[in-house]
Amino acid sequence: AALAARFQAKVDAEEKIEPNDWMPEAYRKTLIRQIAQHAHSEIVGMLPEGNWITRAPSLKRKAALLAKVQDEGGHGLYLYAAAETLGVSREELFEMLISSRQKYSSIFNYPTLSWADIGVIGWLVDGAAIMNQIPLCRCSYGPYARAMIRVCKEESFHQRQGFEIMLTLSRGTPEQKAMAQDALNRWWWPVLMMFGPSDKESANTDATMRWKIKRFTNDELRQKFVDATIPQAQHLGLTLPDPDLKFNEETQHWEFGEIDWAEFKRVVAGDGPCNKQRIKQRKTAYEGGAWVREAATAYAEKRAARARGAARIAAE
C-alpha cells in the first residue's frame, strides 16, 4: 500500500516509472498488452504497405516506401524491447500475435487496393497514429515514452510524405484523381475507428488515465483528428464519404456522421477483410524461417563449444 502510494505520487508528479521501479501488477499487465499491441501494429502495418513496394510507380516513391516500412519495423523492435523491460520475451509476444491472443491496430485489416491507398495510409493512418501517440510521449512509463518520442518524429515525416503523394495524385490525371478519391472513400471510416470505441462505450479508461498512460479520451482525439484533417482534404480537392459532415460555427468543430460500430466490433473480433491474411503472412514467414533461426542457434552453440575447447587447450 505504501509502495502503491509512492508509485501514484511519482505518476502524479509526472516522474517516469522505470523498469526497476515497483509498479502495480495491473499497471504492468496493461502496459505489456498496450506496448505489445503497439509493436504488433508496427510489424503487421508493414504488410499493407509492403504490398506496393514492388509496384511503386517511381524510384523516389519506391525508396520512400521501402524506407517507411523499414522505420516501422524499427519501431516494432524498439517497442518489443520496451515491452521486454516489463518481463516478457519477444518470442512470447510474437507467439501471442500469430495465435491471435494479442491484437494489433485494426486499421491494418483493410486491403491496399491501389497506389493511392499508400498515400492515404501515410496521410491519415499515420496521422491518426500520431494523434494517438503524441500524448504517449508523456506516458508515465519511461521506456514507452522514449520509444514514442522516436516513433512520432519518424511518423511525422511519413505523414507528410503520404500527404505529398495525395497532392501529386490530386493534381494528376483524371484516373489518378479518381484513384485518390476512391482510396479516401474506403479508408476514411476505418481511420476514424482507429481512435477506438466512443467514450460512452469504453471500458478501462479510468485506470489508464490515472496512471498517465492515456491522456485524452477516444472521442477527444478523434475530434481533434477530424478537425485537423478536413481542411487538408479540402486542400486536396477530395470529398469525405460522409454526407453528415458539417462545420459547427459555435463549437468550431466539425460534426460528423455515425461510425458503423458493428463493423468496428466485427473487424476487431477477427472478421475483417484481411485479418486472416495478415496473420497467415506473418505466421508463414516465421514458421518458414524456422530453419534459419535454428541454424543461427546451432552455429552459435558450435562457436561457443569451439571457444571453450580452445580455451581448455590453451590452459593445458
Binding site: 504488410l47 513496394i53 509496384r55 524510384l59 516513391r61 521501402l66 519495423g73 497506389w115 541454424a295 552455429y299
Partner: protein, 249 residues
C-alpha cells in the same frame, strides 16, 4: 558519349534489379532484424541506381530521367548481369546471391571511386561503404547457415551450386568497357577477380561449403539476353507507369 551511357546504364540496372529483389522480402523474412537488414541493403542499391540513372539520362541528353529509364524500357533493353535477376529462392539463396555480388561490388566500387569521371567516382565512393556492409552481412549469414544445421547446410550448398554459373559474367569485359577502362573511367573487373576468389573461398571454407566447379558460365545480360525471370520482375515494377502513360507520381 554512347559507351559511357551504356556503361552507366549497366551499373544502374544491376543496382535496381538487385535492390528490387531484396525489397521483395518485406513481410516474408525469417526474423524482423533480417527484414530490416534486407530492406536496408535494398535501399542502398536503389539509391545507387537512382544516382546512376540520373547520370545516364544526363549523358544521353534526350531528356530521359531515372523513371523513364527504369520504368519504360523492356527486358531486352535492360543491361544487368543475370545473377541479380535470379529469384530470391530461400534465405540461403538470397544471402548467397548477395555475397557473390557484394564480394565483387565492394572491390569494384573501391576501384571505380578512382574514376576520372567525377560523378561515377562519387557514386562509387558512397556505394563502397555500403557494399562493405553487404559483404560482411551476407558472409556472416553464409557462415551461420553453412555451419549451422544439416538442413541449413544443404540449402546453402544448393544455393552455391545453383548460382555459381552466374558469377563469371561479373568479370567479363567487352568493347564498351575496354574503351572506358583505357580512358580511366571504368573500373577493370578482371584484376578484381583474385580478391573476389579470396573472399568467396574464405567464406565458403568457414561455412563448410564446397566451392562449386568452375564450368560454363551464364552470360548475355550486357546484350539484353536475359533469363526468363527479368520479364516477370519488370511486369511488376513497371505496371503502374505503363498503365498511366505520362502521369506524374
Amino acid at each position: 558519349m554512347q559507351p559511357l551511357f551504356d556503361y552507366t546504364l549497366r551499373l544502374a540496372d544491376n543496382a535496381l534489379v538487385l535492390g528490387h529483389r531484396l525489397s521483395e522480402w518485406i513481410g516474408h523474412a525469417p526474423v524482423l532484424e533480417e527484414e530490416l537488414a534486407l530492406g536496408n541493403m535494398g535501399l542502398d542499391l536503389i539509391g545507387q541506381a537512382r544516382s546512376l540513372y540520373a547520370y545516364a539520362g544526363e549523358i544521353e541528353g534526350k531528356g530521359r530521367d531515372e523513371d523513364a529509364l527504369a520504368y519504360l524500357r523492356d527486358a531486352v533493353s535492360y543491361r544487368n548481369i543475370l545473377l541479380v535477376e535470379q529469384p530470391n529462392g530461400d534465405f540461403a539463396a538470397t544471402m548467397m546471391r548477395q555475397l557473390m555480388y557484394a564480394a565483387f561490388a565492394y572491390p569494384f566500387t573501391t576501384a571505380l571511386a578512382k574514376s576520372k569521371d567525377a560523378t561515377l567516382a562519387a557514386v562509387a565512393a558512397k556505394a563502397e561503404k555500403e557494399m562493405a556492409y553487404h559483404v560482411r552481412h551476407s558472409a556472416e549469414w553464409i557462415i551461420r547457415l553453412g555451419d549451422g544445421t544439416e538442413e541449413s547446410h544443404a540449402r546453402t550448398q544448393a544455393a552455391a551450386d545453383e548460382l555459381w554459373p552466374f558469377v563469371g559474367e561479373m568479370f567479363e569485359v567487352d568493347g564498351v568497357e575496354r574503351e572506358l577502362i583505357a580512358a580511366g573511367i571504368a573500373a577493370d573487373p578482371v584484376p578484381l577477380k583474385a580478391e573476389w576468389e579470396r573472399t568467396l573461398t574464405r567464406v565458403l571454407d568457414e561455412a563448410t561449403i564446397a566451392r562449386p566447379r568452375d564450368g560454363w558460365m551464364q552470360t548475355g545480360g550486357r546484350a539484353g539476353r536475359h533469363t526468363e525471370h527479368l520479364g516477370h520482375l519488370l511486369a511488376d515494377l513497371q505496371y503502374l507507369q505503363r498503365a498511366h502513360p505520362g502521369a506524374t507520381w
